[in-house]
Amino acid sequence: MAYYLGIDIGSSTSKGIITRDGKTVAEHLLISGINYRETAEKLRRELLDKAGLSPEDIACTVATGHGAGNAAYADQQVTDTRGCARGINSIFPEARTIIDIQAQSSQIIRVNERGQVTNFVASEKCAAGSGRFLEVIANVLQIDLSEIGALSLKSKSPISFTTSCAVFGESEAISRVAEGIPKEDILAGVHRALADKIDALIGRVGLEEKCAVSGGGGMDTGLIKTLEENLRTKLLVPPRPRMVTARGAAILAQDINERGAAAENKQERISRGSLGGEL
């Protein structure tokens, strides 16, 4: 049984997973930093160490994400849309819509029962539609990203932002802090603003149940709750939302390898057949 490697070089974090027969053998996460190429190398090295494997043990490697091109050792690159769809499908085969909230972009993916992308729409030009907006406001409030979810759930009256721009939103948050508005109300306000952006995106491709989330945004319990209220549906949340796309890449590596093997077999049969014909 072969090992497969999925690598997701994101704008904020880089993730790697080794799978064997669809099951996770080892996974690893690093901050992407400014040198993606170095990060991609380090990620594979440390991941192989964790799994006790050497590069030769990996039958096929697929890289995805914003900086996929920096994983020079990958056999193939796929888009993060495809990686994410395949990853969610392996965890929640019943999911037909995915809300993928990343550090610098968001996407809504429609997916079929085989984990193939049937439609998608991405928001990547504006920070207000991504986790980055939360980061900007968390920075104003001087709280850690990991605290956002629990704190925001305490909010009784979320503020509403008059702007949909993260830069103007930052100024608004500063004004609200000066007025003595509790942090949780400001955070809950950001969740509402983000959920509105996501709603607008969903409007462009439609929502078919069930709906799953992925990406770093999936770790924010406050955001999940706001999205669920807005969409009036229960969301499927994977145990480690940030690892979904890397997982999808590893599964695609297996798909590609097996298809490759199948094609080789086919090629072999054809050659034999033609040879047989001559004989």
């Binding site: 400014i34 610098q104 030009k125 504006c126 920070a127 980055r132 900007v136 702007t163 949909s164 721009c165 993260a166 830069v167 103007f168 004004s175 000066a178």
Partner: protein, 290 residues
């Protein structure tokens, strides 16, 4: 000067409460500018528009009650307790730029938090406009954020960028993503002037995109605080493929327009034999925003 002409002398004030700067102009019946004051609107000064007004009155050497008519414009115009009337900044800007450049047909105004494209007819009247006040990119805020990040005073950006021989391309629209791009270029060792020139080009591209939604006709005039930046003026000209005119003081077109419109309103009332509808004025703090 007889006592009669003294009492007959009329003064008009235009007050432009922008998101970043508060501007006050006082003109007389001959459209002569008697006072011109520009002051930071900043969070703590927001309520002090009356102080800026007082400074202008001192400059013009007239008492508050001598002002015939006061028109307020700009982002914070609504709750000024000493204005007789509020007029939108679009109308005031159009009037202001037409007074600087009578042949203007297209005007670009980039302020601290918005960017506007204005279309004027042969009479200097506003006939169409396009505006961005929803996204920091393409506004003065974009420059402020980058200047702060680079540790360069805002007013030095223009001259610095003129030294650039090879501007970097900033592809992100979003201010926050552009900041990251700037960081990336810095770590690659790009000269700071090339980065600043790239930033100016990015804001100019957004401005030209706004103008292109109107039918661009010469003359083209560029006003607002961002027009004080020679690098942006140059980049706007390059992106448009033709030169843009910039008034000597690009910040005051709105306030000047407000003052001149006040004068016209008063003249019209006089010609029609009607009394000028004035507000009950108090030279007190403005209640900015609700």
């Amino acid at each position: 000067m007889t006592e009669k002409t003294m009492t007959d002398r009329r003064y008009f004030a235009g007050l432009d409460l922008g998101s970043t700067m508060t501007k006050v102009i006082i003109v007389n019946d001959n459209e002569k500018v008697l006072a011109r004051v520009e002051s930071h609107t900043g969070a703590e000064h927001r309520r002090l528009a009356n102080k800026v007004m007082e400074e202008a009155l001192q400059q013009a050497k007239i008492p508050f009650d001598a002002v015939t008519y006061i028109v307020a414009t700009g982002y914070g115009r609504i709750n000024v307790p000493f204005a007789d009337r509020q007029i939108t900044e679009l109308t005031c800007h159009a009037r202001g730029v037409a007074s600087f450049f009578p042949k203007v047909r297209t005007a670009l105004d980039i302020g601290g938090q918005d960017a506007k494209g204005l279309k004027l007819d042969a009479g200097g009247k506003l006939v169409n406009f396009v505006m961005n006040d929803r996204c920091a990119a393409g506004t003065g805020r974009f420059l402020e954020v980058i200047a702060k990040m680079l540790g360069i005073p805002l007013e030095d950006l223009g001259s610095l960028s003129l030294k650039s021989k090879n501007k970097v391309n900033i592809s992100s629209t979003c201010t926050i993503f552009a900041q990251q791009e700037v960081n990336g270029r810095l770590s690659e060792g790009a000269p700071i002037e090339d980065i600043v020139a790239g930033i100016h080009d990015a804001i100019a591209r957004r401005a030209v995109a706004i103008l292109k939604r109107l039918k661009i006709e010469p003359e083209i005039v560029f006003t607002g605080g961002v027009a004080k930046n020679i690098g942006v003026v140059k980049a706007v000209g390059e992106n448009l493929g033709r030169e843009v005119l910039v008034p000597a003081d690009p910040l005051i077109s709105g306030a000047l327009g407000a003052g001149l419109l006040g004068k016209e309103i008063a003249a019209k009332a006089r010609a029609e034999g009607k009394s000028l509808p004035k507000a009950e004025r108090r030279l007190a703090e403005a209640t900015f925003f609700t």
